[in-house]
């Protein structure tokens, strides 16, 4: 069973729909036991960092996430919350990835919304794909590149399109909304 972490962020049913299209059953849950028992966990989300983090702490989901041993995939806000700190609402985050989340400067259109290409550095998530692929992004904040970055996208400046540390995977883009490329990435994660 795949667990999708339920919290006060949008876009959660989109992930469930994408998993069903790939033939995977999933549950949307905030129950620690269910999350820890799942074979894979997805931590999706569109929303605001400080209110999301506050909710996770109130529900003790922060501790649950940190104790996950199975593969977990953070998406969009999920990736940002897995970093150390976000400028959005001056938020201390989960600290899985040792990088910071910053706001795009207003030197170009913000949010970064639409299809952009990432370049994969490494990572099993991009198996079977070209080195460069167009995927769907929608965000105003980005994670800085660090040694855990597995894919880079350039908008205003280069940033982490994907990050991995051990069993923790994350993408800034939305694989569930990125047509065939996104489905391949989700499939790669589900087959880990």
């Amino acid at each position: 069973m795949i667990a999708i972490i339920k919290y006060n962020a949008g876009n959660i049913s989109s992930v469930q729909n994408a998993l069903s299209r790939l033939g995977y059953q999933s549950i949307i849950t905030d129950d620690a036991d269910e999350i820890l028992r799942a074979e894979k966990v997805i931590f999706p989300g569109v929303g605001e960092a400080s209110s999301a983090m506050k909710y996770l702490i109130e529900k003790k989901l922060d501790q649950t996430i940190l104790s996950i041993k199975k593969p977990m995939l953070g998406i969009c806000l999920g990736q940002q919350l897995m970093c150390e700190y976000s400028e959005e609402g001056n938020t201390t985050c989960l600290g899985i990835f040792n990088t910071q989340v910053k706001k795009f400067p207003n030197t170009a259109i913000v949010p970064h919304m639409g299809w952009n290409n990432f370049t994969a550095i490494n990572g099993v998530l991009f198996k079977g794909l070209e080195n460069t692929n167009d995927v769907y992004f929608v965000h105003s904040y980005y994670a800085d590149i660090n040694e855990q970055t597995t894919a880079v996208c350039d908008y205003i400046q280069p940033f982490s399109a994907a990050i991995q540390k051990g069993n923790f995977y994350a993408t800034q883009f939305h694989p569930e909304k990125s047509a065939d490329i996104g489905e391949q990435i989700l499939k790669n994660f589900l087959e880990l």
Partner: protein, 250 residues
Amino acid sequence: MLKKRIIPCLDIKDGRTVKGINFVDIKDAGDPIELAKNYVEQGADELVFLDITATIENRSTLIELVQRIAKEINIPFTVGGGINSVEDVAKLIEAGADKVSVNSSAVKRPELITEISNQFGSQCVVVAIDTKCINEEWKVFVQGGRTLTPLKTVEWAKQVEQLGAGEILLTSMNNDGTKAGFAIDITNEVSAAVNIPVIASGGAGSKEHFKNVFEQTQATGGLAASIFHYGEIPIPDLKEYLKEQKLAIR
């Protein structure tokens, strides 16, 4: 590089697409799901569903349709028409819409933009602006283009950005239906005045029209209905052409 988006718009009435289409491989021309799936296969970057009935009794039909679309479609989509409150938005987002678009209701009560943005994030609030040039001045219209407002288009665009809109869908009523090209002047003015994405709409009749709007304005997307519905410009041909013109296209 961020790609320019090609966005087909589907008009929905009582859960069915309104305009006919002549794609050979579509079994049911009135079924929005069939049409939407076809657009996705052709390489559409996003879809917009506009509910043109939007009466209370048809609301549940729309919600069911949105749920079906969300299950079938693997690209982002926007739903508009008849959205008056945060509760209306909540139902559509819950059903799986990625974004909602508001128009007349936002003019009537601009705080609605902020309320939606605060609850669901600015990325899901598209403000649709219908505009027409009268006595050399671009003004905002509401009620499906039937009612003139005192609002000046560029001023209203700046205001909706301040209020929390994540995107503007700008339709020129002077150009809509003419197939003579997008309104380059107002699209340019609006896209230069705001720092959020602007989608140009109204007037697309040829591949060159998309090239012109992408080259001469800062619009990041081009929306059209009939030229796609009737297969006049197949999306793959359009995208191939725009790539040849050195535009960033997926």
